[in-house]
Symmetry: C2
Subunit: 205 residues, 2 copies
């Protein structure tokens, strides 16, 4: 079977387009129905594609959700994974306050999809597994930043960076779920200031 390059390129593009349509449709249906009530049929219908085509791309609604989780969390990672090479304690404290503020504000702006994720984590083993991976990625990155600060004489030593990172991330994670439930809307910046004050006060002095 002979194909010109433009034909295969065309197929590839159509395939990407179908994938994108399915993800957008899934996002809409999940937002409207929640995770549990949403069906793969609704999503396929909304995407105006066929069952056979849809199952080439995704094995079911859990699979679609996990890709959507990754998309949203990529924006969160971009905050956690900002370059962190402070030259002073003051700079470290400023960076940390910025990261915490941005994290909580993003929880607020992504509320609707995070609500769907929260629901899915409770009922889908694969979504729950995905969330555990997301958490560990955050904790690993925070632990690296702590180790950097310890090695450069900015943060107190004698504490395991991973255990510190874990406790620190947990405060963010739990506040995130409360924000997703519609709490604390008027207090985001004050929460960030409070968390950062205790943490940097304890770690950087």
């Amino acid at each position: 079977m002979e194909e010109t390059k433009s034909v295969t390129d065309g197929r590839h593009l159509r395939s990407l387009h179908t994938r994108h349509k399915l993800l957008e449709a899934a996002k809409e249906v999940f937002r409207e129905e929640g995770f549990h009530k949403a069906t793969i049929s609704q999503i396929i219908k909304r995407a105006k594609t066929g069952y056979g085509t849809a199952y080439v791309h995704f094995t079911g609604k859990d699979d679609l959700l996990i890709v959507l989780m990754e998309d949203v969390m990529t924006a969160f990672y971009s905050i956690a994974e900002l370059p962190f090479t402070p030259a002073s304690r003051a700079e470290a404290e400023e960076l940390i306050l910025y990261q915490t503020t941005a994290f909580l504000r993003m929880a607020e702006s992504e509320r609707k999809m995070l609500q769907v994720f929260g629901e899915a984590i409770g009922v889908s083993a694969s979504a729950s597994q995905k969330w555990a991976e997301i958490r560990e990625r955050f904790i690993n990155r925070i632990a690296q930043d702590i180790a950097y600060s310890q090695q450069n004489g900015l943060a107190r030593t004698g504490l395991d960076p991973e255990l510190v990172a874990r406790g620190w991330f947990y405060s963010h994670e739990m506040y995130l779920w409360e924000i997703v439930r519609g709490e604390h809307q008027a207090q985001l910046d004050e929460i960030a200031k409070t968390l950062a004050a205790i943490y940097t006060g304890g770690l950087y002095s």
Copy 2:
């Protein structure tokens, strides 16, 4: 209808005894089967009581679980609600390290029932509501202790005690669930030391 006092006392005692038998049976069945798989029939059979009698005491397995949650959490509250009137920063730090250590150790010793609660929180609205109440009780008490320390010139001021307490409790809550899943067993005291070091370092200096 005339009854002598000893007859009503006897009934009251039998009633208490039945209630106790049902709770003990529920504890056993939940530990063996988990929350979702456990049935009220299994519990009634194990308690060697009748359906009618059982339903005088509890409306169903959710109701039994909530009483068991309260029982276990009473032991945790006794840690959180220790008298907290430190005369110095050093004393405050010592009390806090003690409380955190005791909390994590109790998570370890109550692992099996907490595992049942964790499962129930995911599937039962009343269990989830109960857990939210438990969390708020902890946070309120911690906030009181922080306010005490601020008023007595031991802790830094300018931070909302409730927001500080919330972030602090969240670290404990998330570590609790990890301990319940069998993680961190060898590290409990190190985790307590780490959490307390950051927290007291940030709040008490």
